[in-house]
């Protein structure tokens, strides 16, 4: 652990590679997959855990028959729509609430209460109001992402030094100009965090929506597979979901890196 000054001379570069974090992770991963494949069917029923080879086969099948294309595009569509909608609603609201102490105090508890409500229970309600399909899923994705974007932007705006709002007023800026040119830029890192967390949670919300209110999407796919007790399909769908999550993370890291913002800034969630 930290605090030690290592005393050994370095061994050759091979030794260094073997001891690197990457090597250990690959080793851990390989061990898990290897053990899994070995145990499946022999000591643990394939019903429960399937096997890496079966899962891989299933994914290839899905790639060929268009399952992946259909469901992944639906999920991506739902996620993006939910995210955009959520941001479009959350940012103006955050601007409004943070600008007025009165509004902040009055609305505060209501927003917190809404945030505490498990969003998933809105699923059945949304089905009742919007039917089954893409719409309720988008709505759920939006609602989930909304709070994250809102809270991060709100906190960011509140910590903006008064000098910025004063400058805006002195220069005769309209509220819109003040928001776009002074306040939001001053809250930059928080806005970035809010948007990146928003995208991540838009995806989570999309999953919730698909599993309770949709008939398309990888969330629906996994539920459907589960209802048929097909563990291979369930795990294959999980792999797809993992890949989408990974893609989102990489996209965010890349974008945030370009913007020069601190990666992985803590979310207010």
């Amino acid at each position: 652990m930290a605090g030690r000054a290592p005393g050994r001379e370095e061994r050759g570069s091979i030794g260094r590679i073997l001891r690197s974090p990457g090597a250990h992770r690959i080793l851990a991963f390989a061990l898990i997959i290897g053990a899994w494949q070995f145990l499946s069917g022999r000591y643990i029923s394939a019903y429960f855990i399937s096997s890496p080879s079966d899962i891989a086969t299933k994914i290839v099948t899905w790639a060929r028959d268009g399952t992946i294309a259909r469901h992944v595009t639906s999920t991506v569509l739902i996620t993006i729509c939910g995210f955009v909608l959520a941001s479009a609603l959350a940012i103006p609201l955050a601007l409004w609430v943070s600008a007025s102490k009165l509004v902040d105090a009055v609305l505060g508890p209501f927003i917190y209460a809404a945030y505490s409500m498990p969003k998933i229970v809105l699923g059945p309600a949304l089905v009742l109001w919007l039917g089954i399909g893409l719409l309720p899923a988008i709505a759920l994705s939006c609602i989930t992402a909304f709070f994250l974007v809102f809270y991060n932007v709100y906190v960011g705006l509140k910590q903006v030094a008064p000098i910025h709002t004063i400058s805006a007023k002195l220069l005769g800026a309209t509220p819109l100009q003040a928001a776009m040119k002074f306040r939001l830029p001053a809250a930059g890192p928080f806005v970035a965090t809010g948007l990146s967390q928003g995208l991540i949670y838009a995806f989570h919300g999309a999953m919730v929506g698909e599993m309770t209110a949709s008939n398309v999407g990888v969330g629906y796919l996994i539920l459907f597979s589960g209802s048929r007790l097909d563990s291979t399909a369930v795990m294959a769908a999980l792999v797809l979901i993992g890949l989408i999550a990974l893609a989102i993370t990489l996209l965010l890291d890349h974008t945030l890196g370009l913007l020069g913002t601190a990666k992985g800034a803590q979310a207010i969630a």
Binding site: M1, H24, S100, L128, M235, A237
Partner: protein, 252 residues
């Protein structure tokens, strides 16, 4: 800087807002707000009281609370244990951190179908699912807590001749107390969300189950009744935990 808002004004406006919302809900004509889909406050209250009378509300709320409670305990225990293991040495860290981080990236609800496959749709499964969600909070809390311990403390304990167990008990766990307190505050609402989510996807009891079954038989009053009770219970738990947890973090 604006002066702080007048507290009386604030409370008045809040009440006003609430009254207007409830008023609109009750009195807007059905052409605007379809009664069938949205119900009315009075009908919701009627449903709530009938459920209280026949015990439905009590049983289902109790089920959800049990799931949350046991899930927190189980997830917390495993999270702390594995967190300690991962912080113990750089080797265990590399072995454990990768899989945990990968699992963490998945939207947890997508694990429910798998859990249904393994454990069925009963309360047992809900508890395990809740525990899995809660686990991450405590794992990362301990893990970050250990990393945050200044190396000078570690060195000193070594010089005092402390065993690993002593180091854990006398240094690591007290040092992580603040982190655990913070995690508890975050974990409790999430435990609720997880328990209810599992119930909505598939269950035979619980508040989430109530919401779902009400919706499926087009009982909007029931749906809202269950949702409101859920909101009240979850807020009550969060606020209680927050009050106790902040005492823990005081020395930091």
């Amino acid at each position: 800087m604006q002066p702080s808002a007048n507290p009386i004004l604030v409370v008045t406006l809040r009440l006003l807002l609430l009254l207007i919302a409830i008023g609109l809900w009750q009195f807007l004509p059905s052409s605007v707000l379809d009664e069938f889909l949205w119900s009315r406050p009075l009908d919701v209250l009627a449903q709530m009281s009938s459920w209280i009378m026949d015990g439905t509300l009590l049983w289902n709320a109790a089920d959800t609370l049990v799931t949350v409670g046991l899930g927190l305990v189980l997830g917390g225990a495993v999270g702390v244990a594995l967190g300690l293991l991962a912080g113990f040495s750089i080797v265990t860290e590399r072995l454990l951190l990768g899989p945990v981080q990968m699992l963490f990236a998945l939207p947890k609800i997508t694990l429910v179908p798998l859990f249904i496959l393994w454990l069925g749709v009963g309360t047992q499964q809900h508890i395990v699912f809740t525990a899995v969600v809660v686990f991450f909070f405590f794992f990362f809390a301990i893990f970050n807590g250990i990393r945050g311990i200044a190396s000078v403390h570690h060195n000193n304990f070594e010089l005092f001749g402390a065993s690993p167990w002593q180091m854990c008990r006398l240094l690591v766990l007290p040092a992580c107390r603040g982190w655990i307190a913070l995690s508890l505050r975050l974990a409790v609402p999430y435990a609720f969300v997880s328990a209810v989510s599992a119930e909505v996807v598939a269950s035979t009891s619980g508040l989430g189950y109530l919401v779902k079954t009400s919706a499926s038989v087009m009982n909007a009053s029931g749906m809202f009744a269950a949702m409101i009770v859920l909101l009240i219970v979850s807020l009550a738990c969060s606020l209680t935990i927050n009050r106790y947890a902040s005492n823990w973090a005081r020395f930091d």
